[in-house]
């Protein structure tokens, strides 16, 4: 029985190696200019509206550029899948790789393979690092926002909402998925700002896992605990809009007025937040910028056509803040 297995396996391997080509290409000429470029994009998944918007935007941008073809791979939020996808891209001999890494570490092996294959790797939206702290050697650039900064301006927006009031003011922090770099960074930013003043205090802090329903469920429980302990909650700072939107339902069901009794600030800038702001049920939202499609096309063209790398490794994208004041006007322009 086992003999048969080995024979079969050996035969299969032999057949493949006879018919297949080798991988012995060394670094080619310096200019890799071609008529058409194929770009492989490994996306985290489709776990939130913002993420889906990011994917859609990428696909639309590439579709509009006839010179570029995008190979899209969704990793369903697993790092293992992303590593396998990049290997496939290398095997498919793509011209460039765009990666939005689900976690920050563990890419060493596959990035070194990519380097060997001479395809530039661009990091988008989330950053990564290598063991030797030399991520810049393996990737061309990182295009993305500063989540620490996003956390800081979100925190500031909430504090500003209480500018006319006396402390102490208790608020709730709804965190993103435990361990996600965006949650960690936004949390850092938030605590940076909160640490500098003591009027507004974070009384409760829990994870809402970036989902609407968990945001609602957790907020419900917190409101009840607060009530039992005699604490009055005046504000909510959520790492993402959809958690805040879920939580605002819990607030409404508790008989309070979201946006009025409890001021709400979130991050992402999804349409739901704008609609709520237009109604006065939401205080502010920090935009999580998009635009990766055109940006990556621009940079890849530079690299492959002209061998020109972007000056700074970190291509920073700006976060805009939207509040009740300017939300209504901006609403028609929000695509997602």
């Amino acid at each position: 029985m086992k003999k048969a297995c080995f024979i079969l396996l050996g035969l299969a391997l032999l057949c493949q190696s006879v018919f297949a080509g080798g991988e012995s290409e060394q670094t080619g000429p310096v200019s890799r200019k071609k008529d058409k470029y194929v770009v492989g994009f490994s996306q985290v998944g489709s776990e939130s509206e913002w993420r889906i918007a990011m994917s859609t935007e990428m696909q639309e941008a590439y579709a509009a550029h006839p010179r570029f073809t995008l190979i899209f791979s969704d990793a369903q939020q697993k790092q293992e899948n992303q590593i396998a996808a990049i290997r496939n891209f290398i095997q498919q001999k793509v011209d460039a790789i765009v990666l939005c890494p689900v976690v920050a570490t563990g890419w060493d092996a596959v990035l070194s393979e990519a380097k060997d294959s001479n395809s530039p790797v661009l990091l988008v939206n989330r950053t990564a690092n290598t063991v030797g702290n030399d991520i810049e050697k393996y990737t061309a650039c990182f295009i993305g926002p500063d989540n620490i900064y996003a956390g800081e301006i979100a925190a500031q927006a909430l504090i500003d909402a209480f500018a006319k009031e006396q402390g102490p003011i208790n608020i709730v922090e709804l965190q993103g998925t435990v361990g996600a770099s965006s949650a960690v960074d936004r949390g850092t930013g938030i605590h940076n700002v909160f640490g500098k003043q003591n009027k507004v205090i974070i009384k409760y802090s829990q994870t809402g896992d970036y989902t609407r329903s968990l945001g609602k469920q957790v907020m419900e429980s917190i409101l009840k605990s607060a009530q039992a302990e005699g604490v009055k909650i005046r504000g909510l700072l959520a790492h993402s809009d959809n958690m805040a939107l879920g939580a605002s339902q819990a607030i409404a069901e508790a008989g309070l007025k979201p946006g009025v009794d409890i001021k709400i600030v979130g991050v992402d800038g999804v349409r739901g937040a704008f609609e709520a702001m237009a109604e006065g049920k939401y205080t502010a939202s920090v935009e999580n910028p998009l635009g990766f499609g055109n940006k990556t096309i621009e940079i890849i063209t530079d690299i492959l056509d002209n061998n020109k790398y972007p000056g700074e490794w970190w291509v920073k994208l700006k976060n805009d803040v939207y509040t009740e004041a300017n939300a209504k006007a901006a609403l028609p322009n929000r695509k997602y």
Partner: protein, 351 residues
């Protein structure tokens, strides 16, 4: 005395005991758990939350009970719930009018939308049943395929968006109250009652238990085992659909990615905690419902105590193990050891 003994031997005893223990724990250690007030004409408190939050799980547990009674499992219920929610949301529409903040009407009449959602879910269950009973695909694999594809289908229906709904009448199901209690609870009780009557007053229940206990003898007795299994999966699909519509109504949105995520494990847990055996056979719907309440009460308690979310898993595991050990310990055997000599264990095969 005999009557009490008979009562104690019922399947549901353990889960009721566990739930009571948990509630007792909360009386002492969780302030505010039992506080009930009247807000806006309805009861408001953690107990109400447990009921409301546990409702989707209770629906799924009902459906899962039927499937497990045949000795199979259905891990696609979460994805089917997502599909149902997506269908309902797509048909109701996320129309937003900035002035009213609510939609004036839904794209299709509400009963039609909900009906379509439930029909889709039931068809999913029928598909599973077809694979398992007629094509003989193993239940785990058959439902695994729908679990994977299901979320994809749900996302297809919503075109990848999270559809936020503003149509008030739809929310009544998930967030409305009647006589002070959440409407969804009444629906759960109604559905549970129908399921109970269906299983006890028709021959289906009997045949189902029989198919689970001993498939070949049931077949030899002339009962079409395949139809029994197929119906069980269809029911599971329908229940998942109701749960999905409820979830969408409660969150006022259809989130194809996250709706019903990991519910299948909790549903199976609820059924087993309720005293049902995964090998199939006799089942208790009441047990499953109590099991679902137990799981939900556990979750709510943990959130209220501010314990980090990741600890929920460990606590759940410990509870499951404890309840399981108590359930499977054969007390009579234990007692017999003290009374008379231990009979030979030659025929004792892993319980």
């Amino acid at each position: 005395m005999d009557k009490i003994k008979a009562l104690l031997r019922r399947k549901e005893v353990l889960s009721i005991a566990a739930l009571s223990l948990l509630l007792l724990f909360n009386v002492f250690f969780t302030p505010g758990f039992f506080s009930l007030e009247l807000k806006e004409g309805h009861f408001y408190g953690s107990l109400i939350d447990v009921l409301k939050r546990g409702a989707p799980l209770m629906f799924m547990a009902i459906g899962m009970t039927f499937v497990i009674a045949t000795g199979s499992t259905d891990i696609s219920v979460g994805s089917v719930a997502a599909i149902a929610g997506a269908v309902a949301a797509q048909m109701i529409g996320g129309d937003f009018s900035a002035t009213a903040g609510t939609a004036a009407s839904s794209l299709t009449p509400l009963p039609l939308a909900i009906g379509a959602a439930l029909l889709t879910a039931t068809l999913c269950g029928v598909w599973n049943g077809f694979l398992v009973s007629y094509l003989g695909v193993q239940a785990l694999i058959a439902t695994l395929m729908l679990q994977v594809a299901g979320r994809g289908i749900a996302q297809l229906v919503t075109r990848g968006n999270v559809i936020t709904m503003y149509y008030k009448p739809f929310f009544e199901f998930g967030t409305g109250y009647f006589l002070g209690l959440p409407i969804c609870i009444y629906v759960v009780l109604a559905v549970a009652l129908i399921a109970y009557l269906f299983s006890k007053k028709t021959s289906y229940g009997l045949f189902l238990e029989s198919s689970g206990s001993n498939r070949s003898s049931t077949r030899y007795a002339g009962i079409k085992v395949q139809t029994m299994i197929w119906i069980a999966f269809a029911i599971s699909g329908l229940m998942a659909g109701i749960a999905g519509v409820l979830i969408a109504s409660e969150v006022k949105a259809a989130d194809a990615n996250n709706a019903g995520l990991n519910y299948e494990l909790d549903a199976i847990l609820a059924v087993v905690l309720g005293g049902n055996s995964m090998k199939g056979g006799r089942f208790s719907l009441a047990g499953s419902l109590i099991g679902a309440l137990l799981v939900q009460a556990l979750t709510t308690t943990i959130y209220m105590k501010g314990v980090p979310a990741q600890t929920i898993l460990v606590v759940k595991a410990v509870v499951v193990i404890l309840v399981g050990i108590i359930q499977t310990t054969n007390y009579r055997k234990l007692l017999a050891r003290f009374v008379k000599k231990q009979p030979s264990e030659a025929f004792e095969v892993g319980k």
